[in-house]
């Protein structure tokens, strides 16, 4: 789980072009959207692509993203349970 969280932080910084942020800046329970990392609606869609591309998870209802992408912690938990690759 710790390795997955580390990997997620790296990937999120990479795919969302968070140039000014380091892995160490992101805490596991920090909110990703709103006041946290300040991600927006396009980022949320990009995270859905990330789930599909890297972990083989197809999110059919984008509304689910809201709870899954709450924090690195919730994302890692969801991926661990649902990943197909």
């Amino acid at each position: 789980m710790e390795a997955l969280k580390q990997e997620l932080k790296e990937k999120i910084i990479e795919v969302l072009n968070l140039e000014d942020i380091n892995v160490a800046d992101i805490n596991d329970n920090d909110p990703l959207f709103g006041d946290g990392l300040g991600l927006d609606s396009i980022d949320a869609l990009e995270l859905i692509v990330l789930l599909d591309k890297e972990y083989g998870i197809k999110l059919l209802d984008p509304k689910l993203g809201k709870t899954i992408f709450e924090s690195i912690e919730t994302m890692a938990a969801y991926i661990t349970e649902h990943r197909t690759k």
Binding site: L16, N17, L18, E19, D20, I42, E46, V49, K53
Partner: protein, 205 residues
């Protein structure tokens, strides 16, 4: 049509790793690739706008030009009715090619929403409008080459029919690391008269 005299208030040219503002070279470096050049500019001029890194190259080019010409004249406490009139040759093809690659192979078919949004040339106008809070007239055109007479006429129309108080004009051509950004602000004050000839002289400087 009754016309008031208009002027080229300020100019900015970005090409070949060099930025020239009002005829003066203000930034250059030898770094390879436009994105790293843009990043160096961002750091040196302390832009502090992380969204910059999400933009495609075309938007970054437009953003830098707008930043340099608008910052000195924008009053953040007031409405600034500055129209945006932009054009280029290659539309968003630089990003289009990258997006097309992401959908070309069926095994690696992962179309990216963040890339797709930049497959429209006018997105750079949106980025500038958001940064400078310009709720103003804006339009994007495509021409084979820089069309000074169109730019002159259309900027004058916007001013004459009072759709805008000033117009930021931009030629933002970007394809495959080849780029040229030419920006000028048309206003009722300045030293260079806003004519087709003068626009061309500034473009070719």
């Amino acid at each position: 049509m009754l016309e008031n005299k208009t002027y080229i208030h300020s100019t900015c040219v970005i090409q070949k790793n060099k930025i020239v503002l009002n005829g003066e070279s203000i930034f250059s470096n030898e770094i390879e690739g436009f994105n790293d050049f843009a990043k160096k500019f961002y750091q040196e001029f302390e832009i502090a706008y992380p969204k910059f890194f999400k933009m495609d190259s075309l938007s970054k080019l437009a953003f830098i030009g707008a930043e340099l010409l608008l910052k000195p004249i924008i009053d953040p406490l007031k409405e600034n009715n500055i129209g945006l009139l932009f054009a280029n040759k290659s539309s968003s093809l630089d990003t289009d090619v990258k997006y097309q690659e992401s959908i070309s192979e069926s095994e690696s078919y992962f179309p990216s929403p963040a890339v797709f949004v930049y497959t429209l040339p006018n997105i750079c106008l949106g980025e500038i409008s958001i940064k400078h809070q310009l709720k103003s007239e804006n339009s994007f055109f495509i021409f084979d080459t820089f069309n000074s007479s169109f730019m002159e006429n259309y900027a004058n129309v916007l001013l004459n029919i009072k759709k805008a108080d000033k117009v930021l004009c931009g030629w933002v051509e970007y394809f495959n690391e080849e780029y040229k950004g030419f920006f000028y602000l048309v206003s009722d004050e300045g030293e260079i008269e806003h004519t087709k000839n003068n626009i061309e002289i500034e473009f070719n400087k």
